[in-house]
């Protein structure tokens, strides 16, 4: 698969602040790439360079085959972008905003109008379509801005924190829209603070910190770096807890953890669901009452904290040495 987006050694400095420090990424066509990172990691800066809003100090990048600096003007016909802060016009209505964007993509009057109506519908803004944006809520503005990115059905889409400020329903419907677009072959690069979102949407995820990629892979690969599945069980008495520990020791692939106050035991396992079923079978045979049982995979939150925390540890160790 050819790459829809490539970036090599991107560097961007704001005075003394190094916003990007050798950013690298490759996104194959028709896939979703997630940029995950703490505040100030350089996600927005990366998106702004790839959408031609900023020129990098060093390195280079291509989108849809066009160099983001040299071919900026031609590139823009092939991308849609929604920034971290909604770029909508307060005095225009929702419909007028989208029509204007369509006209500036040179879709012509009729298609611009039609597209505006379709998108307003898709983003649940039909009722507000003819009201000035000034009176929109934060989430409505956000949705209008996202609709703006889709006006020209661009092959490559950049979404900077697309679901920040959306209610659960709007978020779910945006996820749906993104899934449909990707099914039609659109390439999406998105940044997010929500691990669940990256997990759910992104084919590959780059964890970014201090302006560079510190880990890269599928959600599963990243989780495996942190550790495998765990069974978490809680019982009703201290005696049962001890029995459970003894019974389940053969299943554990690492150190088990006991929490006597919560009456909970945590067992690292392989083979997820099968392990859980057999654990529950053993306990039922001993007539141990199980209050709560579950299989827990490391979340991207775990990944995120481990990786970014780890990074800081290493840097501080290096300075000590």
């Amino acid at each position: 698969m050819p790459a829809a987006i490539t970036a090599e050694g991107l560097v961007k400095k704001y005075g003394d602040v190094v916003a990007l420090d050798g950013m690298e990424l490759t996104v194959p066509e028709g896939t979703v790439f997630g940029l995950l990172g703490p505040n100030g990691a350089g996600k927005t800066t990366t998106v702004r360079i790839l959408t031609t809003l900023l020129t990098p100090d060093a390195g280079h990048a291509t989108v849809a085959g066009f160099d983001v600096v040299r071919d900026a003007r031609r590139l823009r016909a092939h991308i849609g972008a929604s920034g971290q802060y909604a770029a909508v016009d307060d005095h225009l209505t929702g419909a007028e905003n989208l029509e204007m964007v369509g006209r500036l993509y040179h879709l012509g009057v009729k298609r611009s109008r039609q597209r505006a109506r379709d998108l307003l519908d898709r983003f649940d803004l039909t009722e507000a379509a003819d009201r000035p944006v000034q009176g929109y809520s934060g989430g409505m503005r956000r949705r209008l801005d996202l609709a703006g990115a889709l006006v020209a059905t661009p092959p490559v889409l950049f979404l900077d924190e697309p679901t920040t400020g959306l209610d659960p329903r709007a978020r779910a419907s945006l996820w749906e829209v993104i899934a449909e677009l990707v099914a039609d072959g659109t390439t999406v690069l998105l940044t997010t603070q929500y691990m669940e979102e990256a997990d759910r949407l992104a084919d590959r995820i780059a964890v970014v910190d201090h302006g560079r990629v510190i880990a890269l892979g599928t959600a599963d690969q990243l989780k495996d770096q942190v550790g495998g599945d765990r069974i978490e069980l809680s019982v009703t008495s201290a005696a049962d807890l001890e029995t459970a520990r003894r019974m389940l020791a053969p299943l554990a692939v690492g150190d088990m953890q006991l929490d006597p106050t919560a009456l909970q035991v945590t067992i690292p396992v392989i083979g997820g669901a099968a392990a859980l079923t057999s654990a529950l079978g053993h306990l039922a045979a001993e007539r141990i009452a199980v209050r709560d049982a579950g299989l827990r995979r490391p979340t991207l939150d775990d990944v995120f904290l481990t990786l970014t925390g780890h990074e800081t540890d290493e840097t501080s160790k290096e300075t000590v040495r």
């Binding site: 900023l54 823009r76 016909a77 770029a87 225009l92 964007v101 040179h106």
Partner: protein, 267 residues
Amino acid sequence: MNSLQVAFADGMTIAKRNALKIRRAPDLLGGVIMLPVVFVLLFTYVFGSMIELPGLSYAEYMLPGIFVMTITSSAQITGYTLTQDLQKGIFDRFRTLPMSPSAVLTGQTVSDLIMNVTSIVTMALVGLLVGWRIHSSPLEALLGFGLLLLFAYAFSWVTATVALALRTPEIFNNIATLVSLPLVFLSNAFVDSTRLPGPLQAVAEWNPVSTFIQAARVLFGNASSALPAPSAWPLRHAVPVSLLWSVVLLAVFVPLATRLYKRAVSR
């Protein structure tokens, strides 16, 4: 479409957006319609009651000055909306679109022109009600209005340049008032420049605003024969010199504004 047609179409799209904006914002609309009406009434009645001009009503002498003053003061709307746009994210949207990069400024200045047409028509109508008359041929009168609009268009680019250099609405407003007030009051708008003391007279006579006002007076037939004819060179050839001024202003400020726009949005 070739790139010139694209640039034109994009400019018109932005102009339409700005026009909608002015129509929706009551404070801006007030500046376009109310202020000119107030200026005409206030200046003709207040000053008009104090001065006698033989053979000419004071309204006739005043109106060209009021036209030009209104143009310079409504240019503040341009700068104000431009600085506001800069602070919001809308330019980011524009810059990710395959539109002509010049469209934002041409659109802005074209919508300003539409706004100026509206306020000049308003002033002319109110002017006619209070005694302003055109004493020249229809062709000259038409040229007079054309020249006012040319001035308005060139002045919008000056304002856009200042706005893009200052970038915040509040700072822009202060500076614009500070510059435009003396520009209008140190001119022949409301006083006979030949009666000003020496250095002020030189300033007023060479002030480009005076040249445009004098040119409008000439073209509308509103120059008073009772007043001594201005002796300064730009005022004796007011029509060609004001055309020259327009060309110079455009030649300097179009590229300057364009450069500042690029700098302002790419930070």
